[in-house]
Symmetry: C2
Subunit: 361 residues, 2 copies
């Protein structure tokens, strides 16, 4: 069953309020199951809330299962999508293709098990089970219902050789290693430049560990992993993903800059993969003049970054971490297949049900 | 009279609350007049509120002179700096150097008329005249009081050949043309690339007009100026700053992308100089794959930009507009001296007392 007219590949035809904006910017989407000709409907199995959103929900509700279920259910019922109104972020989902419209360009067929690589914050979603199987303690939310993919909604068939929750956790942050690798390889290719020093804030987390490995593969001369605790430093050292693991609070700009300097910095490229606010100034101070900061954390403040750099008279290039880089899913999955250290970090995080850093939002 | 110990070049010794953060991120600064050895005290003549902050204050208070004075006065009394708590932004100031500490590296002497090139949001400030000479209708605020410059607080002596308010307005946005020029010249230098197409959103404003001229000088093959009204299109055409002036609402992504395409786009480089929220999606859609968006507007949402690009599967590089680029003040002043079209736009804006786009925040 498909709608009458042609759909917009960006999903504009699903925007109810306010009209004319893109689905990500909309307050409310039409999540009805009937497809436009270029859409795909997915029977949802699991939502993966992004780290910033999950943290906010837990703090706002206290974290009890019933309260967490009610909070997510209310957002989805109100908005037709899982976009946390406080953080603006969402997450991603996995499920099975139920129906593909005749004009869908995504190449998916009914029965395919897929993960969405576009954010839940722009994906029409309807929940039908009240999230009854969710204990509220994990970002990964068992869920029944349906979701809609537009013509330009990137999705990927889940790999057969990796457990589903592991693959989902990897795909969730797959933009970070792809963009880090691109930026580091550009820095490494600069004529006459020394191999770049790369600092990864939150290097023992999901997006951080992948970014550290991607940086090394892209030609980093030295990878400095910054972590908040001795336990994470031990994890990072055991995984062998960084040349040095240093402990610093990324929200303390002076301490962070000193720690990175002491480990061989300042950094040519600094990658921010911690999901707490207030890391902008430290990231700027830890970076060499002429260097680049990539912000993947959804807790990043645009104003704080722009003014922090200006206030320190720091000539650094600051990138907004774009979650889409061509080939990002394959790159990230291959890194996890090949690097036991990264895989170990992901398996531990998945079994704990805890997250970090840039999640698909 | 200078304080006992050495100061931090970043001004950490002036942070009262919370301790340990950079002055820009602090809630409250110590604005007392006694100098640390590397500081400079300026007798303030005029504050230039950034556009986003001014707009917010006007909307929140209704805009009456007494209410505007009270609002700004309260912020400065509470925080020891003029940082709008809603927008996070500030502005800049001009004044006369009253005292320079013996260890100040800024090269300023008592009597120099200067403009600060770091944001008011990190500059200790005390107001002594209740802003009695301000009518509340202009971003340029006559003011008596003092401000403190740290060792790394960039300031520039005001040029003798340009009227003060004009120079202030130019310096306020001088980071935008410098960074635009750098990005466009990098795009133009790319091996085998056609001369880049540059779209400037808000091209008839202050930062926009400077950015358009800087783009052309840096090797743009085509400059597309996007403006919201016929009146601004006429201004832009008369000034001769763009190859084409098109009218579109930057908050309407589909209309904006269509307008830029119709004028010779999509853009290799898109420069966002409009100070209203909601322009992220349109800027991304107006940009070619592999292109770059530079966000100068302090109304930019980090999350909306990151997710907007991801949601559209758009492989674009997104830059946070850093207000500091070496040589930015001289570059911007020279553009205004040489380009009568830009100078005309600034003179009209200064006499109207209205602003736009990226202000020093």
């Amino acid at each position: 069953m498909t709608g009458p007219g042609p759909g917009s590949p960006l999903g504009l035809h699903r925007v109810l309020d306010p009209p004319g904006v893109l689905p990500q910017a909309a307050w409310r989407l039409d999540a009805s199951p009937r497809l436009w000709p270029d859409e795909v409907r997915v029977a949802v199995e699991r939502l993966n809330l992004d780290a910033a959103s999950f943290r906010q929900l837990r703090e706002a509700t206290g974290g009890a299962a019933a309260d967490m279920r009610a909070a997510v259910g209310r957002i989805v019922a109100d908005r037709g999508k899982m976009q946390n109104p406080v953080t603006g972020s969402g997450g991603m989902l996995t499920g099975v293709v139920a129906e593909a419209g005749p004009d869908s360009p995504l190449g998916l067929a009914p029965g395919d098990r897929v993960a969405t690589l576009v954010s839940l914050s722009l994906t029409p979603l309807m929940i039908t089970d009240g999230l009854a199987d969710w204990d509220g303690r994990s970002e990964q939310v068992p869920c029944q219902g349906h979701a809609i993919l537009f013509g330009r909604s990137i999705a990927t068939v889940l790999p057969a050789d990796l457990p589903g929750p592991l693959a989902l956790a990897v795909l969730d942050v797959c933009g970070a290693p792809a963009l880090t690798g691109r930026v580091v390889s550009q820095a490494a290719a600069r004529a006459g430049a020394a191999p770049p020093v790369v600092a990864v804030l939150g290097a023992a987390g999901k997006s951080g560990s992948l970014s550290a490995v991607a940086a090394r593969q892209a030609g980093a001369g030295r990878v400095i992993g910054v972590v908040p605790s001795r336990a994470e430093a031990a994890t990072l050292r055991a995984a062998g993903l960084a040349d040095e693991a240093v402990i610093a609070d990324a929200r303390d700009p002076v301490a962070l800059a000193a720690a990175v300097r002491g480990a061989g910095g300042p950094a040519t490229v600094t990658v921010v993969c911690v999901d707490v606010p207030g890391c902008e100034g430290g990231a700027v101070l830890a970076t060499a003049d002429g260097g680049t900061v990539i912000f993947f954390s959804m807790a990043t403040s645009f104003t704080a970054a722009a003014l922090g750099a200006e206030g320190a008279a720091a000539d650094v290039t600051m990138l907004i971490g774009n979650g889409y880089v061509p080939g990002h899913a394959r790159l990230a999955l291959d890194l996890v297949r090949r690097e036991p250290g990264v895989r170990g970090i992901f398996e531990a995080r998945v079994s704990e049900g805890t997250g970090d850093g840039k999640a698909k939002t």
